[in-house]
């Protein structure tokens, strides 16, 4: 802190009041100080960046890894176990990264829908008349939020999905079969005929097959994000004035009808901005797929880095992809937010 400048040698306060205010020294001038502060901070940051970039270029040149994108055209040489767009080891690296990105987007999309459904249900359950259901919703949120997501993911994968039985012993639910070899779901098969999972020579077959890796990732993401979304929904519902509930029930609406027709539409204003945050963190959390062996963008990027050594380029691709994904979600949610806001007449 600058010391207070010594007072002018004025004989008495009376005469000082008549004098024009002394010009403050430059380090106390409010027109100068902000610019000096900014210039100093800017200069320091610039120096730091220049130092780091200089090192980066020098070190990369020494290692022969100066920024280049030509390696993207070389054949990848590794396979991706499950891919929506066709991929094999002869295809170039950029195709591998694209396949990883599509896998990430697939997991994020299904995860978003699932987590929203689960979160909304649990958030609604915390306003149920039934004390047991209410407490159960609370316990779910408190347990899930206090355990790291990565731990939950490896739990789902190694303890639940990898110990599923195979063949006839597999868990058979209506339209869905859970086996160690994958998750088989009913759907439209050949000729648009509805087909359930069937056992052919000890191997399950169905129109839709998901790998256990994808299943574990989805379960983990949905259960984890569902707890956070439940809290957002709960906060949104709690923000609706109590009179709305009372008015609706005095009009004869049931609990569910009140929630669906009166309370939830009003709470959306509070819920949507909170959902935005949760959706973005779900998209980012999907990068933990690497722990359960699902080949998402991050996992492909890691393999690519190990094979090519192109650290800077791979990181740039990763950061750009996730930033774009986040911005996309944000833009969509902001559009939705404008839709649900109250329009003043």
């Amino acid at each position: 802190m600058a010391p207070v400048p010594p007072a002018d040698p004025t004989p008495s306060p009376l005469s000082a009041a008549k004098l024009p205010a002394p010009k403050p020294p430059w380090w106390r001038d409010r027109r100068v100080v902000p610019w000096v502060v900014q210039a100093v901070v800017g200069l320091l940051v610039l120096l730091l960046i220049a130092f780091l970039l200089g090192n980066l270029i020098r070190n990369l040149t020494a290692a022969g890894l100066l920024l280049s994108w030509r390696w993207l055209q070389q054949p990848a040489g590794f396979d991706i176990s499950e891919s929506v767009i066709p991929f094999n080891a002869q295809l170039p690296y950029w195709r591998a990264l694209a396949a990883g990105l599509v896998n990430t987007i697939r997991a994020v999309l299904v995860g978003l829908v699932g987590a929203t459904l689960l979160g909304t249900l649990v958030g609604m359950a915390s306003f149920s008349h039934n004390g047991l259901l209410r407490r159960l919703a609370r316990v779910y949120v408190e347990v899930v939020r206090n355990i790291p997501l990565l731990l939950q993911l490896v739990f789902w994968y190694f303890v639940v999905f990898l110990t599923l039985p195979n063949g006839l012993a597999a868990i058979q639910l209506p339209g869905v079969v859970l086996a160690k070899s994958g998750l088989y779901i009913a759907g439209f098969g050949e000729g648009l005929r509805w087909m359930g999972p069937t056992l052919v020579n000890g191997v399950w077959q169905a129109p839709v097959r998901l790998s256990v890796e994808f299943g574990a990732l989805l379960t983990g993401l949905i259960v984890y994000s569902g707890a956070f979304i439940a809290e957002v929904v709960r906060g949104g519902i709690a923000a609706v004035p109590k009179g709305q509930w009372e008015a609706a029930s005095s009009l004869g609406l049931s609990w569910f009808a009140t929630l669906r027709r009166i309370v939830l539409p009003q709470s959306l204003r509070v819920i949507v901005p909170g959902l935005n945050t949760q959706y973005i963190s779900l998209a980012k959390n999907s990068s933990l797929a690497v722990a359960v062996g699902y080949t998402d963008l991050y996992s492909v990027a890691e393999t690519t880095l190990n094979q090519t050594g192109r650290a800077v380029e791979v990181i740039l691709v990763l950061l750009a992809a996730y930033l774009t994904l986040d911005l996309l979600i944000s833009a969509l949610m902001n559009g939705l937010n404008r839709l649900v806001q109250i329009r003043e007449r």
Binding site: N55, N59, L151, K284, I315
Partner: protein
């Protein structure tokens, strides 16, 4: 009718639909509970946790140097007990000055129970079990001592007592890593719970000042500071932590002159710090937004300089409002340390993975992950409880409550 029964009826069996739902839920819960209990008691083989308890606690820290960790634990326990007692000895508006409120008695009971049951559950030998019992006694003794005589401490003495923690942190660093006459233990030999706690406490301590500065920068009138902070915060918040850790491991070596890049553990700790700072900045910013503008203006017109006004008027109010969000960030930071296992560091989850790679414990995933889950849940829940207690204590409008 019995009031308990009446409440049960109102909550569970108010209508026919409620009753049906309750019955279904009760049967589901009991089925799940019975299944879990049967697994825990008969099918699970807990040897994997019992045999590797040291590994889970401190990783591959050299056995002959482990006395340093015991000493550090003892110091930490003594300081915690003393702090706890001092807090009770100096009642705030929320307490009537009871030395042993009900919550404290409960906490001591719970801690003693854990200290008694854990060595038995883990089959620890008597020497180590004895140390844990000693530590528990030390905690309660320091708590009692500080509670009994803490009120006599002068304000200057209190400030001095608060200094114990930063000093202890430095002492702890020396004890763990060596130096000053102690044998050096390289960070590659740290692991387990110790590494988890070390990385998270390091990041929590350092991200706090950085986060506050970023939050102030983001609300500043100076365009360069504002846009710089916004750029940093949004960049960090847009990237998944794992890509940033990956960046730290693979690119930091290129960014610094040869040989200056820190050890892998420290790289990860720094990445965690800078990552958490961006999130903390947002939490602090919400608190700053809650302080009316008039507060700063009033402080300035009283003649306080801008930094002084921030320090004495604005920040105390803002941080109090932001406290729940800040502790929430700390909790998620503690959980995020599990990601260090993905870049090959042996913190709790990484240790678990190496243990399970041992053929003797193949397939014992459930036991290990369940143990870790309980451990993490306990730590995070305790942080949450502590945050709520602190919130009540700092609340200027708290009504004195008799406990």
């Amino acid at each position: 009718m019995n009031p308990l029964l009446r409440r049960l009826r109102a909550e569970l069996f108010a209508t026919r639909a409620d009753a049906a739902l309750s019955l279904v839920l009760i049967s589901l819960i009991s089925l799940a509970a019975i299944g879990c209990l049967r697994w825990v008691l008969t099918q699970a083989q807990w040897a994997v946790v019992k045999v590797n308890s040291t590994l889970f606690a401190v990783g591959r820290y050299p056995v002959e140097q482990q006395w340093r960790l015991w000493l550090l634990t003892a110091l930490l326990v003594a300081a915690s007990g003393a702090t706890w007692g001092l807090i009770r000895a100096h009642p705030r508006p929320d307490r009537t000055g009871v030395l042993w409120p009900r919550n404290d008695r409960l906490a001591v009971g719970l801690l003693s129970l854990i200290a008694l049951a854990l060595p038995w559950a883990l089959d620890l030998n008597l020497a180590i079990a004895g140390r844990w019992w000693g530590l528990t006694v030390l905690l309660v003794f320091c708590r009692w001592l500080a509670g009994r005589y803490g009120a006599r401490l002068s304000p200057a003495g209190q400030r001095l007592a608060a200094l114990v923690w930063p000093v202890l942190y430095l002492v702890g660093m020396v004890l763990i890593s060596g130096g000053l006459g102690l044998v050096t233990v390289s960070p590659s030999e740290w692991g387990g719970l110790m590494l988890t706690l070390l990385a998270s406490s390091f990041a929590i301590l350092l991200c706090f000042p950085i986060g506050v500065l970023l939050a102030l920068g983001r609300r500043s009138d100076l365009p360069l500071l504002r846009w710089g902070s916004v750029l940093y915060i949004e960049f960090i918040r847009g990237a998944p932590l794992i890509t940033l850790l990956f960046l730290g491991q693979n690119i930091l070596g290129f960014l610094l002159p040869g040989g200056l890049a820190p050890e892998r553990v420290w790289r990860a700790a720094w990445v965690l710090t800078f990552f958490a700072a961006a999130y903390l900045a947002e939490a602090v910013r919400s608190g700053l937004a809650a302080v009316p503008r008039g507060q700063l203006e009033a402080a300035r017109s009283l003649g306080l300089s801008y930094p002084k006004a921030l320090q004495h008027v604005v920040l105390p109010q803002a941080l109090r409002v932001a406290l729940p969000a800040i502790v929430g960030q700390f909790i998620s930071l503690l959980q995020d340390t599990t990601l260090l296992s993905l870049i090959g560091l042996l913190e709790l989850l990484g240790t678990a993975r190496t243990v399970m790679a041992n053929p003797a414990f193949l397939g014992r995933n459930g036991e290990v992950y369940l143990t870790l889950a309980v451990l993490f849940w306990g730590c995070c829940a305790a942080l949450g409880l502590g945050s709520r207690a602190l919130e009540r204590r700092l609340d200027p409008h708290a009504v004195p409550s008799a406990t």
